[in-house]
Symmetry: C2
Subunit: 135 residues, 2 copies
Amino acid sequence: MKIGELAKKTDCSVQTIRYYEKEQLLCTTQRSDGNFRLYDEAAVEQLLFIKLCRNLDLSLSEIRQLLTLKRSPGAQCDQVNRMMDTHIQQVETRIQELVQLREHLKVLRRSCSSERTIEQCGILQTLTTNQHQKR
Amino acid sequence: MKIGELAKKTDCSVQTIRYYEKEQLLCTTQRSDGNFRLYDEAAVEQLLFIKLCRNLDLSLSEIRQLLTLKRSPGAQCDQVNRMMDTHIQQVETRIQELVQLREHLKVLRRSCSSERTIEQCGILQTLTTNQHQKR
DNA sequence: CTTGACTCTATAGTAACTATAGAGTTTAAA
DNA sequence: TTTAAACTCTATAGTTACTATAGAGTCAAG
Ligand SMILES: [Zn+2]
Ligand SMILES: [Zn+2]
Ligand SMILES: [Zn+2]
Ligand SMILES: [Zn+2]
């Protein structure tokens, strides 16, 4: 199949597929007489694997590692598991950062109501005068 | 004061300050005879304001809008308030996405233990065989 | 008068795409 | 058979908010 069909089957844009090839996530394929890329079912599988990983927010570099690991089926699982653990930890940290941020934003938001002018704006005042003015 | 002192006072890198100038978050300043940028206290204030906004994850474009608004003190607050509301909503959404993602990752992680080989890896199997294999 | 610390501009790199431009290829209808 | 539409190719630039150079100029102290 040609790249357009692969794109449709995997719900992935044509440019993204070419990008993944350049980034070594998909190996270079056969080409037709007219220099069009030709793919088989294995390519569909691989691209779907990549998409699932991206949905888990794994980076392209991490996915590249996973693909390499898949090619040595006798090796131990440790690396895969460690990658997952690290990744989960990062997501956890990010969630906590965002929860804190949300609280900051909500407090700030409460410092203003709609009927004010910019001059009286509680939000802008807080952001401006915070620690460094009026002692 | 020169750019290095401003950088120290605001805990902001010299390159970032120059970048903010290019992006119109800081206006172009006076220059010394030797073409060095010269700043006053107002610049310190403004840069600290920008930093606080960045800590709230506001984009440079949003901050640019806020700075513009600050310059028309008679106008109404609506725009500021609307920007905050939108921003809070985005953070909320992102938190929910990440919480879901975390659950996915945890389930996936549980499908493997350390003593396995890649071939038996529950994680890789799940990612590979998901919907599209085995009917 | 030279050394070192500072500053200047311009350019490239980061991550993971997305969006062109300009050219060639293939398929189908007219 | 011509021609038009639809597809594909490569190469390049843009996105965000910086960071990191290179190569040159400025300034103060010793
Ligand atoms: Zn990760
Ligand atoms: Zn307000
Ligand atoms: Zn926002
Ligand atoms: Zn495993």
